[in-house]
């Protein structure tokens, strides 16, 4: 579960190997516009912020998470500390058991939450327009995915984002192309909405499995929250 920043355009091509080893530069991207020579002339920590130590601590903290995959007791405490410095690809979703179970994907840095065990509370409903938006943005990809011979109408791939978990699991059994569309589209799994009958049967293991279809690496489940990291 190594952190992978490849999706962030942080490194200009001319940055040499030795610049890459510092976690400070990797995490905050401060070296983006400085050439190697200037970097060498600068004091390592001009404002005495002890940045390096801070980020080293966070790196260690993330390593802890790797070890601590199943149990998240320490995780909660850590989540409350220094959240502002957490890399943007560490996120969490929320699943609340009870009458309605629902999941929520929060934007990077939309954090500073208090994990609470408010099981059974109905907090909200799935925001359909959100899923619609993301589907629109990824229009090309979805069309391509449904472009198989003599089979499901392309539009079905769009409509899938309007289905709940149970129906998605049903649809993926219809044929191979739908199976690969449903399983291969992370957007469909960004919001996992589990209705009445299923929430009594679903287990954490299954939830982790389903959540990972959103191409996230699930770190753990605790108190109705699913902690995960984007895998891009």
């Amino acid at each position: 579960m190594a952190l992978n920043y490849s999706h962030r355009p942080v490194f200009p091509a001319h940055i040499s190997e030795e610049n890459l080893v510092s976690p400070v530069r990797i995490v905050n991207g401060s070296s983006e516009s400085t050439s190697k020579d200037i970097v060498d002339l600068l004091p390592s920590d001009p404002f005495g912020m002890d940045i390096k130590t801070t980020f080293t601590a966070i790196t260690g903290w993330l390593e802890d998470l790797e070890v601590d995959c199943g149990g998240t007791s320490q995780l909660n405490e850590k989540m409350n500390v220094g959240m502002q410095s957490v890399p943007s690809n560490l996120q969490y979703g929320k699943y609340i058991y009870g009458g309605t179970v629902w999941g929520e994907r929060l934007a990077p840095y939309d954090i500073g939450f208090q994990p609470s065990c408010n099981m059974g509370e109905i907090v909200g409903f799935r925001n359909e327009s959100d899923s619609c938006d993301s589907e629109l943005q990824s229009g090309k990809k979805v069309e391509g995915a449904a472009n198989f011979e003599g089979v499901p109408h392309e539009a079905l791939a769009f409509a899938l984002s309007y289905l709940g978990v149970k129906d998605l699991l049903s649809v993926e059994r219809v044929c191979k192309s739908l199976l690969s569309t449903v399983r291969g589209d992370p957007l469909l799994w960004m919001t996992i909405h589990i209705d009445q009958p299923l929430n009594e049967r679903i287990t954490d293991d299954v939830l982790v499995q389903l959540a990972s279809r959103a191409q996230v690496c699930v770190i753990g489940i605790k108190c109705g929250y699913v902690f995960f990291e984007l895998m891009k």
């Binding site: 409509a159 129906d167 299954v206």
Partner: protein, 176 residues
Amino acid sequence: MAPKNKNPNGENVVPEVQQKKTQALILKSSDGEEFSISKSAAGLSVAIKNMMEDDCAGGVIPLPLVDGGTLARVITYLNKHAEDGASDEDKRKFDEEFLSGMEVDVLCDVALAGNYLDIRGLFHDVCQRIVNGMKNKSVEWVRKTFRIESDFTAEEEEQIKKEYAWAWEGVDSDAD
């Protein structure tokens, strides 16, 4: 019922008042049919609006991914939604009637067109409609309705079914 905006010869029919009121654009479908539509109605499609803003919409706009029948439906929708004085309630009623008369194939075509032309309201409503019928239905029902043939072997099918067996309790039987 929805106003027809296409006569039997496939020519466009736009209310005269509207023609006078706003300038018209010509939309050309994949099969070469041409439809005239007011700029205000066409502007409800984000894709067309962008083209108008970028000034690439001089004269005829070709829409190579939308066939004539579908385009006619989309234009009917746009005209209603651009109509002066149509209340939200009117529009909702119109949408309901407009969509309820469509077969699933047609709905699918309109959904694609709505996506392509970026008409969010239409796209959303149509997708919702397609999906509404699918809720809690069996795999076999989906195959039948959408005319999809299974290309799974019996073993493969059994295996996928087993994987999420917990999810299938209480799903309508295949006969429904």
